[in-house]
């Protein structure tokens, strides 16, 4: 189960550095007991509506993908990036499969506890699509903007 990290468009295996993890509830209950925590674990059903100040100081936020079908963390990732301005690492944990990576990366996930062994498969999966129709939490320009830029250039 390799840990993969995304730098720009490049996905590569990363060293497993030791993290001190704490769940949001535990941390809120007693912040002083977790002063050395580096990673915030956000349960899947956690509302993010008042999370902003909690993000300060965590270098990693861990989102859970318990099954292939459970897509709540895609919204969480996007909200962390686009609404709450979180710029640190967002790590996907759980059932992190090859055919989901493209969607996760577009929503702002940039580290993956990949469920399969072969990191090259994950790399390939991220290269399967050249374009995207919508704007999301990545830097990829949506197709409508490319069309617009092209027509202006022409």
């Amino acid at each position: 189960m390799p840990l993969l990290k995304l730098h720009g468009n490049d996905l590569s295996p990363a060293l497993e550095e030791p993290l001190h993890e704490v769940t949001l509830d535990d941390w809120r209950e007693n912040p002083t007991a977790h002063t050395d925590a580096t990673a915030l674990v956000l349960p899947n059903a956690q509302s993010l509506s008042d999370i902003k100040c909690d993000l300060n100081g965590f270098s990693v936020v861990i989102l859970e993908f318990p099954t292939f079908k459970d897509g709540r963390a895609y919204s969480q990732a996007r909200l962390l990036r686009q609404r709450y301005g979180y710029t640190g690492e967002i790590r996907a944990r759980g059932n992190v499969l090859r055919d989901q990576l493209w969607f996760m990366a577009r929503c702002g996930v940039n580290a993956f506890e990949f469920s399969a062994e072969n990191a090259n498969d994950a790399k390939t999966a991220l290269q399967e699509f050249s374009y995207a129709y919508q704007s999301c939490a990545d830097k990829r320009a949506p197709v409508w903007r490319r069309r617009f830029d092209r027509s202006v250039a022409a």
Partner: protein, 551 residues
């Protein structure tokens, strides 16, 4: 109609290539069937009772002749010579071999078609009015916005793993042919008091085990904000919708648990945070898409044509077909032609490869190369000159495609049922066939008037029985097929959920029962009111009596 540019074409081709890789991994054994299942389900490939079934998207029901010919080719080459149009304007092939599916997708991609998001818990292929761009009285062409939604929803990174499937329908006419009130989101394009055009946003309608009519959560949404508003609805649903129970996971359950008002507040709050982000399309892109739906080059024709009138007087069958199967066009001298896929004894929605070729040819010659699929499992030629109607009718008739029964008792919606479907409890198709045979023998279908019969072979309600004027639901009782009748449903602008009337009937009795209901209606109706209106006027009781008196 919309044409792909290099971006659209590249994405569809890349998706086909991706799926080819997934199939190869399955065939080599690298993926188990369990691992493959969610992947194939994201591409319209189901495993049915006897074989794989491939559901091909027909975005908002619009097809060109070239695309129809390709579907004929696929039916002939990879299937058993036919296809099946569905209640979501799509087409299904019932017998493809898994190993052939990547080739089929390449064939489809060559004519700007695909099977993307025709299954799975994602935003499904968007549906619309089959008369779009042709209907008299339409506010504007709803396909412009359907195409906007198609692009936005394709491979949406945030909304591809929703609690459950998600269906959006768009209409722009007062007469609702897209069933917008029984969709997860229904969009009705209309003009407000200031004369501006926007959307009424209806959320939480749906059929299945727990049928609901949708609630209007916003009366008027300015068009420019469509996508950010949809994103707000989808985000609330993705985060808050239930995931612990398959049968309570649709947005209708969330909306009804929260209450429409609170749900609307949640959406508005989310929308306030994103409405000015770059989710919505710039005006240039909307204009670019709009240009594809410009009206064809209609000629200025007079409202009546002598030869057409003569043919009508001379040929009673033609006159009948014109009365029943054609509809008013927005341009004088043109008509909308409905092609019924419900011949007597036929399988609703089925069409052979040679019939597909015939429809393609007729559309090319007489309807500006355009064909539409309808949610009632028929086809439409949207733009036919009145003075061509006789030739079109003759050509359709030569291929068994001129059945004059649109909206009548034998124009039945039926799910595939136990003949194909792994989920079904009972067969649906034979019931539809026998009802059509019975009324063909009795005659007088036109006299009976509009009567929508809809048949589902299980509680999942793919045959829309809840919104049938007469609905028929198949249930399994100790291994025997029984059919429960519902009355008074409608999926149109006067939407309502049908009421169950009493105990189930055996397969042998169900056709008699329908006939009794119709006889009772004919006896009691006033001023040519529809079956549905008689039912609404009298209520369930007298119909129940009529139904069970003789049984």
């Amino acid at each position: 109609m919309y044409r792909y540019d290099e971006f659209d074409a590249t994405m569809v081709a890349e998706r086909a290539a991706q799926f080819r890789g997934q199939v190869a991994r399955r065939l080599s054994g690298e993926l188990t069937e369990d691992e493959f299942k969610p992947l194939r389900l994201m591409n319209g490939l189901y495993l049915q009772l006897h074989a794989y079934m491939l559901r091909v998207a027909v975005p908002y029901g619009t097809l060109s002749s070239r695309q129809m010919r390709k579907l004929a080719h696929i039916a002939r080459t990879y299937d058993k010579g036919y296809g099946h149009f569905t209640t979501r304007q799509n087409i299904q092939f019932n017998w493809p071999a898994l190993v052939d599916v990547p080739d089929i997708l390449d064939e489809l991609a060559s004519v700007e078609m695909h099977a993307i998001q025709t299954s799975g818990n994602c935003i499904r292929n968007v549906t619309s009015d089959q008369y779009a761009g042709a209907a008299a009285g339409e506010v504007e062409d709803p396909r412009i916005w359907s195409e906007v939604i198609r692009q936005w929803s394709t491979f949406h990174p945030e909304f591809s793993f929703l609690p459950r499937k998600f269906k959006i329908a768009v209409t722009a006419s007062d007469t609702d042919r897209a069933a917008v009130k029984v969709h997860d989101i229904g969009l009705r394009i209309h003009k407000n008091a200031q004369g501006e055009i926007g959307f009424e946003v209806i959320v939480g309608g749906g059929l299945g085990r727990t049928p609901y009519i949708g609630h209007t959560i916003r009366n008027f949404l300015p068009k420019a904000h469509l996508l950010s508003y949809l994103e707000a609805i989808l985000r609330v649903y993705n985060l808050e919708g239930r995931r612990d129970n398959l049968y309570k996971a649709r947005i209708k359950i969330l909306l009804n648990v929260e209450g429409a008002e609170k749900f609307a507040t949640m959406v508005e709050k989310e929308w306030a945070a994103i409405r000015d982000s770059d989710v919505d399309l710039p005006a240039e892109e909307i204009a670019r898409i709009r240009d594809y739906f410009a009206l064809p080059d209609f000629e200025d024709l007079s409202a009546t044509d002598d030869a057409f009138e003569k043919a009508r007087t001379k040929d009673k069958d033609f006159a009948r077909w014109v009365r029943i199967n054609t509809a008013a066009h927005k341009r004088s001298g043109y008509s909308i032609v409905n092609i019924s896929l419900k011949p007597v004894s036929g399988i609703p929605g089925d069409i052979s490869d040679t019939q597909m070729e015939a429809v393609a040819g007729i559309a090319e010659q007489y309807s500006f190369d355009e064909i539409r699929a309808t949610h009632e499992q028929n086809l439409v030629l949207p733009h036919v000159r009145q003075d061509d109607l006789y030739a079109v009718w003759k050509a359709l008739d030569a291929h068994g495609l001129a059945t004059a029964n649109i909206g009548l008792v034998s124009d039945i919606i039926a799910c595939p049922g136990l003949d194909y479907c792994a989920l079904a409890n009972t067969r649906s198709i034979p019931i539809a066939q026998r009802i059509s045979e019975r009324f063909a023998a009795l005659g007088g279908e036109e006299e009976i008037g509009e009567l929508k019969i809809k048949i589902s072979g299980c509680i999942n309600a793919c045959g829309h029985h809840h919104v049938g004027h007469i609905g028929i639901l198949g249930v399994d009782k100790k291994g025997e097929e029984f059919y429960q009748i519902t009355l008074g449903g409608s999926g149109a602008e006067d939407a309502s959920i049908g009421e169950i009337v009493g105990r189930g009937l055996s397969s042998g009795d169900v056709v008699d029962a329908v006939e009794q209901l119709v006889q009772f209606y004919l006896k009691t109706r006033q001023n040519k009111e529809r079956f549905l209106d008689t039912y609404r006027r009298l209520g369930a009781e007298p119909f129940k009596e009529a139904l069970y008196a003789a049984a």
